[in-house]
C-alpha cells in the first residue's frame, strides 16, 4: 500500500520500475503533466486515477476530484485543460444511485472548470475487487507560447509561494473516514486551478515551477522539486498557513500538516523580481486570496527541504513515506 501513498515508495516505483520499462524522454521529467509537441502545438497531457474512500466527503466527492485533479495537473504546466477522458471502474453491487451522484458531480465539476469530457470507458469488476467506484481521467490542454514550467527550473533565489491554507482536503476526508470520524466543520478545498494559474501567467510567463501538493502534501511537493532541480528549499515554518481546524486535527492524531493531502492548492517557485506582482495577482483571485510566501530556494543542502522552526531551530523536512500513521499516544 505504501507504494501508492505519494511518498518515497511511490517515487521509487516510478523511477526504478515504470520509467526504465517505458522509456521515453518526456516521462523522465516526472512532472505533474507531460508537455508534448503535436502538429506544431504544445500540449500538456496528464492522467490520474482516483480511489478515494468514502466516495463523498465534506466539500466534494470522487467525481469532483477526478476532474479537478487532472485539470490541476495540466494547470501545473501552465495549460488550461480542454478535453478529458473518463474511465469508470465499478464494483459489482454498487448502488446505481451512487454512480449517478458521482457522475453528476463529475459533470458539474467539468462545467465549472470549462473542460469537456470527450471520451470515456466503463468496466465492472466482481464484488470484493473494488471500493465501489474508481475513476481514471486523462486530459489535454494547450501550453501558451513562452511558458516553460517544470520542476527542473527551480533555481536559488526563487521565492516559494503557496496559494492558501494547507491540509484542508486531507483533514476533511479523514473526518468522515470509517474508524476515524471526528467532529470538524472543515470542508475539502477541492477546486480547479486553471483560472488562478492564468492570472499568475498574466503577470509573468516566467513562472519556474508549479505543483499541486496532493498526496504527500506540501512536504512531498517541495522535496520532489528540490530533487528534480538539485536545489535546496528553506521553509519558514511559521509562514505556512495552517488553519486551526487542520492544526487541531493533526495534533489529536499525531500528524504533521505538511504531509497532509491538498486539492485545490498550488505551490509556486517564482523569480524573486516577479514574486511581489505574482503574489498580488494571486490575492486578487478567489482561489489565491490567502496566498503566502513560505520560503525560498537556496543553493545550500541541494535536494533537501529544511524548515526554520517557529522557535528559531532548523529541521529536515523529508519526503514522506506513504501516508502518515497516527501515533499510539
Amino acid at each position: 500500500m505504501g507504494h501508492g501513498g505519494g511518498g518515497q515508495l511511490s517515487a521509487e516505483l516510478v523511477e526504478h520500475i515504470f520509467a526504465p520499462a517505458f522509456g521515453g524522454r518526456v516521462l523522465a521529467d516526472l512532472a505533474d503533466s507531460a508537455t508534448v509537441t503535436l502538429g506544431g502545438a504544445r500540449l500538456a497531457f496528464s492522467t490520474d486515477s482516483y480511489v478515494v474512500r468514502p466516495l463523498f466527503f465534506p466539500g466534494g466527492s470522487i467525481g469532483d476530484l477526478a476532474v479537478n485533479g487532472t485539470v490541476n495537473d495540466l494547470a501545473m504546466s501552465g495549460a488550461r485543460a480542454a478535453y478529458l477522458s473518463c474511465g469508470f471502474i465499478l464494483e459489482e453491487g454498487v448502488e446505481m444511485s451512487q454512480v449517478a451522484r458521482v457522475a453528476e458531480a463529475l459533470g458539474a465539476a467539468a462545467r465549472a472548470a470549462g473542460v469537456e469530457i470527450a471520451t470515456g470507458d466503463t468496466k465492472v469488476v466482481e464484488s470484493g475487487h473494488g471500493d465501489g467506484v474508481y475513476i481514471n481521467t486523462a486530459g489535454i490542454g494547450l501550453v501558451p507560447d513562452g511558458v516553460d514550467i517544470r520542476p527542473q527550473r527551480a533555481e536559488p533565489g526563487d521565492v516559494v509561494i503557496v496559494s492558501g491554507p494547507i491540509g484542508v482536503h486531507g483533514v476533511a476526508v479523514m473526518s468522515v473516514r470509517e474508524g476515524l470520524e471526528f467532529g470538524t466543520e472543515i470542508e475539502s478545498d477541492c477546486a480547479a486551478l486553471g483560472g488562478l494559474v492564468e492570472a499568475m501567467l498574466a503577470v509573468t510567463p516566467d513562472l519556474h515551477v508549479l505543483r499541486d501538493p496532493t498526496r504527500g502534501g506540501l512536504a512531498a511537493a517541495l522535496n520532489e522539486i528540490a530533487r528534480a532541480a538539485s536545489v535546496g528549499v528553506l521553509l519558514q515554518e511559521r509562514a505556512v498557513p495552517v488553519p486551526a481546524e487542520v492544526a487541531n486535527a493533526c495534533a489529536i492524531l499525531g500528524l504533521d500538516p505538511l504531509y497532509v493531502a491538498n486539492e485545490g492548492k498550488l505551490v509556486a517557485f517564482v523569480p524573486r523580481a516577479e514574486a511581489e506582482a505574482v503574489l498580488a495577482a494571486m490575492h486578487a483571485h478567489p482561489l489565491g486570496a490567502h496566498a503566502a510566501v513560505i520560503g525560498e530556494c537556496v543553493d545550500s543542502h541541494p535536494g533537501m527541504v529544511v524548515a526554520r522552526t517557529g522557535l528559531g531551530g532548523t529541521r529536515v523536512v523529508d519526503l514522506p513515506i506513504g501516508e502518515q500513521l497516527p501515533r499510539i499516544c
Binding site: M1, G2, H3, G4, G5, G7, Q8, L9, A11, E12, Y50, V51, V52, R53, L65, G69, H169, G170, V173, M174, R177, G179, L180, T214, R215, N223, R227, R238, A244, A247, N248, A251, I252, L253, G254, A261, E263, H301, G303, M304, V306, T309, G310, L311, G312, G313, T314, R315, V316, D318, L319, I321, G322, E323, Q324, L325, P326, R327, I328, C329
Partner: protein
C-alpha cells in the same frame, strides 16, 4: 483545542531560554523520559537553542520501542492465523520482529487492521462473531486505562471473541532502574506529563529523594519542555532535588482516580522485559487472573518463538541515554526507517527516527544523499 499557538510562542520561548542561559553555570545532563518529548525537542530544534551546558538525554519512554521482540513475534504469529482479525495502533505495524513486520503479514493475506481506539477493535469483534479479534495492547500508563476499559466492556457485553495481547509498561520502575545503573549520567528528569495525568505525581517525590535527582513533570509543547528544563536547571544549580509539577493544566497530584481504579481492577503488576534494556522488576502490567480468558497469550498459546535481535543494533543504549542515535555505527547506513534494525528507527516516538527525520544535516554518520527510502506506512487514499 486551545494552547497550540500559545505553547509555541516564540517571544515566550525566548524569555524562557534567556532565563535558562542566565541560570546555567556548569554542565548538566537532563533526561526527557518520553519519546513524544524527544520528537518535540528535535522537531522544534529546542536542543539547538539551549546553552551548550544543558545536554538533553533521550529516555526510554517510547512505548513502541520498548515492546520486546518476543511480544512482536507473538503478534506476528497470531496475526498470521486465518481465523484472526489483528487490530493495532498504526505505529506497531512497522516495527520489525524477527524477519518481518505486521505490514508484511498483511500483504501476505493476514487480516491486520489499524484502529484508533481499542473500543474500535471491540466493535469489530461484535461485528465478526465468527472470528477471533485480538488487540495489541502496548504502551505506558497512558494507553493502559482505555485497554483495561475495553476488557471491562467485553465482559460486560458478553463478547467472547475478543482478547488483548498485553505488553504494558510503567515509568517509575524504569526511572529507578536507570538511576541504579553505574553508567547513569542523568542528573534530572523531565517526567512524562501524560503518564502523570493518569497516575498522578505520587510516586515521584520518593524517587527524587531516594536518588537525589530533580524530577519535573513536563508537557509536550515547546514551551512546556523549556519550562521543564528551566525548573530542572534551577534545582540543579541550587543543589535541590524534588518533584515539581510544571504541567498543572493537565496533571493533578491524584491523577485520574477512575482510570487508576480501572487499571487496578483489570491488570496486576508484573515484571516486564523492555526491548534493548532487559527485565525491570515490577515494571509492567498483565491481565489479572480473573480476566485470563481475555489474554491472547493464554488463548492462542503461542510457542516456538525464536527471537533474533540484530547484533549491530544499539537501540538499548539509545533508550537508556548511554549514546545518541547518530553515535551508533549503523545509524543512517545499515539502519534506516526503510530497513530498520530496531524499533527506535521506525517508531514515531523513537529517538533514532527523530534524528534521522529531522537532523540529517547535522548528524555526522548520515549518508550525504537524502534518497534512502523508508518503510511503507498505511496508505489511506484521499485523492
Amino acid at each position: 483545542m486551545k494552547y497550540l499557538d500559545e505553547f509555541q510562542d516564540p517571544d515566550l520561548a525566548r524569555r524562557l531560554l534567556d532565563d535558562i542561559h542566565a541560570t546555567v553555570t556548569r554542565p548538566w545532563a537532563l533526561m526527557e523520559v518520553c519519546g513524544g518529548q524527544t520528537h518535540s525537542i528535535i522537531r522544534h530544534g529546542l536542543d539547538q537553542l539551549l546553552p551548550d551546558q544543558v545536554e538533553l538525554i533521550h529516555g526510554p519512554g517510547c512505548p513502541v520501542c520498548v515492546t520486546p521482540l518476543e511480544v512482536i513475534d507473538k503478534a506476528l504469529e497470531i496475526a498470521s492465523r486465518p481465523d484472526v482479525i489483528f487490530c493495532s495502533f498504526g505505529d506497531m505495524l512497522r516495527v520489525p520482529g524477527t524477519g518481518r513486520d505486521l505490514f508484511q503479514v498483511r500483504s501476505e493475506g493476514g487480516d491486520v487492521r489499524v484502529v484508533y481506539s481499542p473500543l474500535d477493535a471491540l466493535k469489530i469483534a461484535q461485528d465478526n462473531p465468527g472470528r477471533e479479534v485480538v488487540f495489541f495492547g502496548i504502551g505506558f500508563e497512558t494507553t493502559a486505562p482505555p485497554n483495561a476499559m475495553t476488557v471491562h466492556q467485553a465482559r460486560k457485553l458478553g463478547i467472547r471473541n475478543f482478547s488483548l495481547l498485553v505488553s504494558h509498561v510503567r515509568v517509575p520502575p524504569a526511572i529507578a532502574s536507570l538511576m541504579q545503573s553505574p553508567q547513569c549520567r542523568v542528573q534530572a528528569f523531565l517526567a512524562a506529563g501524560h503518564v502523570c495525568s493518569v497516575m498522578g505525581t505520587g510516586e515521584y517525590p520518593e524517587l527524587a529523594e531516594r536518588y537525589k535527582v530533580p524530577i519535573v513533570v513536563t508537557g509536550f509543547e515547546p514551551l512546556d519542555i523549556l519550562e521543564g528544563v528551566r525548573r530542572a536547571v534551577r534545582q540543579l544549580e541550587r543543589g535541590e532535588h524534588r518533584m515539581e509539577n510544571a504541567y498543572p493544566r493537565a496533571v493533578r497530584d491524584e491523577g485520574n482516580p477512575a482510570a487508576k481504579a480501572m487499571l487496578a481492577d483489570i491488570f496486576e503488576v508484573t515484571d516486564r522485559a523492555w526491548r534493548g534494556i532487559g527485565v525491570i522488576p515490577a515494571s509492567g502490567w498483565r491481565l489479572a487472573e480473573r480476566y485470563r480468558e481475555y489474554d491472547a497469550e493464554h488463548r492462542f498459546s503461542v510457542t516456538a518463538i525464536n527471537t533474533q535481535e540484530p547484533a549491530a543494533c544499539r537501540s538499548g543504549e539509545v533508550l537508556q541515554g548511554l549514546i545518541k542515535p547518530h553515535e551508533c555505527e549503523a545509524f543512517g547506513t545499515t539502519c534506516t526507517p526503510r530497513s530498520p534494525l530496531g524499533a527506535t528507527m521506525v517508531s514515531s516516538e523513537g529517538a533514532c527516527a527523530a534524528y534521522y527525520l529531522y537532523r540529517r544535516l547535522s548528524t555526522p554518520s548520515t549518508p550525504s544523499t537524502p534518497s534512502t527510502p523508508t518503510t511503507p506506512m498505511e496508505a489511506s487514499p484521499v485523492g
